[in-house]
């Protein structure tokens, strides 16, 4: 069985599948993108901005990815809502990572301050 034969076979088998898939997609399309996912993703991006992801280079990078993928998802929302939903998931995961990295950066600054404070106190009291 060569590749052409397989393709032949697949095409014949897929015809009814393609039809049902189209129907499924159509069903999805009528509901458009998952609004809950959309809301979650937007909230995550806002959250990242609120914790200062723009100020930490690594976090800023992932926030940027999140924004771009959200924009892409919005662009294809009507044409390919399924892909758009997954773009939203990707965007959300980047936004969540941005939050964690931003918080890590902030914690690093705080830790440095705390260490300095402890050092000062040591010098003062010990």
């Amino acid at each position: 069985m060569n590749i052409d034969q397989v393709r032949q076979l697949l095409r014949g088998a897929l015809t009814p599948v393609a039809a049902t898939s189209l129907i499924g997609l159509g069903a999805c399309a009528t509901g458009s993108v998952n609004q809950a996912q959309m809301t979650e993703t937007q909230a995550a991006i806002r959250g990242a901005q609120e914790v200062g992801a723009d100020d930490a280079p690594q976090a800023a990078l992932h926030l940027q990815y999140a924004k771009e993928q959200l924009a892409d998802a919005e662009t294809i929302a009507d044409d390919d809502p399924e892909r758009a939903n997954r773009l939203l998931m990707r965007a959300e995961s980047d936004a969540e990572l941005a939050i964690a990295l931003a918080e890590e950066a902030e914690l690093r600054t705080e830790a440095e301050e705390t260490r300095n404070r402890i050092r000062e106190e040591r010098e003062q009291h010990l």
Partner: protein, 323 residues
């Protein structure tokens, strides 16, 4: 999506199986490679220890991507799911680093607190030691204070003793001065009717016989007694002395008569002086007769001078004497 596939006909399932066998060699997507690598990393690192629950969630996400890879290698679904899984793993790792950092800080803070407590403890111990030393020094000072008080008291007692001695000395001195004054007055009075001379260490008081006795008499004349009172005073004013009363005559009568007369006269004077308070043991009487003339017996004046009573005053050695 996978649900959709599962609900399709058996024909589709068959086709898929064929596709899988055909794509068995298709390598995992870049996204899946990255996710797997991240997971290996996370499982060997702090994340597994510090964030096990979150890491398990990320593992589920990775498994979903793996299933998508098995279902349709290299598919966009696999890529998307792997992408999401990798982000989740990275997120868990970031959280784990934060937790580790917080724990580290907490440990440092605790170490500082512990060191601080230790430092306070040793400071307190040093303070206690200083307090103890202070108490000891205070005790020593108190003891020394007591000794000083005792010494001060002893010094005060000694001082008042010395003051008393000084006072006593002053009184003694005044008494002595008064006695000397009385003596000087008595001697001055004496010089009106007696002559005084020094004979080596002795003082010799010479009284003319005519002021004491009638001729040939050994009884004192009334007028003589007043004069002899002055002599007694002078003698008593002298301390630590012995007295010898010597009777002397001129040479007109016999020696033996003169000896008896001079002895009797000397004793009369002695007795009177004793009656005036001169200690009996300190005074004796001696008759010298005519043996020791002080002038010629050829003239009336010379003979008058020879008739005399001498009182020899000898200072006794103060060390051996006791009155």
């Amino acid at each position: 999506m996978s649900y959709l596939l599962k609900t399709t006909s058996s024909a589709l399932a068959f086709a898929c199986l064929l596709a899988l066998s055909a794509c068995g060699t298709t390598p995992p997507s870049d996204e899946l490679v990255a996710a797997r690598s991240a997971m290996t990393n996370a499982q060997g690192g702090e994340a597994a220890r510090l964030e096990p629950e979150e890491l398990r969630q990320a593992e589920l996400a990775l498994q979903e991507a793996e299933r998508a890879h098995e279902d349709e290698p290299g598919s966009q679904l696999e890529r998307d799911l792997a992408y999401v899984a990798e982000r989740k793993i990275l997120t868990v790792q970031a959280r784990a680093r934060q937790t580790a950092s917080r724990n580290e800080l907490e440990a440092e803070r605790e170490a500082y607190t512990e060191d601080l407590e230790q430092a306070n403890l040793s400071r307190q111990q040093r303070l206690d030691a200083i307090d103890e030393q202070l108490a000891e020094v205070r005790g020593q000072l108190d003891e020394r204070g007591d000794v000083i008080d005792e010494q001060t008291e002893a010094l005060r007692a000694r001082e008042s003793e010395l003051v008393a001695q000084q006072q006593e000395l002053n009184e003694t001195r005044q008494e002595r001065d008064a006695a000397q004054q009385r003596l000087a007055e008595a001697m001055a009075a004496l010089e009106e009717f007696a002559t005084l001379r020094r004979e080596q260490e002795d003082l010799v008081i010479t009284l003319n016989g005519s002021v004491l006795f009638e001729s040939d008499e050994s009884e004192l004349m009334g007028t003589a007694e007043r004069r002899l009172q002055a002599v007694a005073q002078a003698l008593q004013g002298r301390d630590q002395s012995t007295f010898v009363v010597e009777g002397h005559t001129d040479s007109r009568a016999s020696d033996s008569y003169n000896q008896r007369l001079s002895q009797a006269r000397a004793e009369s004077v002695r007795n009177f002086l004793v009656s005036q308070g001169v200690a009996e043991s300190d005074i004796r009487a001696v008759g010298r007769g005519e043996a020791e003339p002080v002038a010629s017996n050829d003239t009336a004046e010379g003979r008058a001078n020879n008739r005399r009573v001498e009182i020899h005053v000898t200072k006794t050695d103060q060390r051996q004497s006791s009155r």
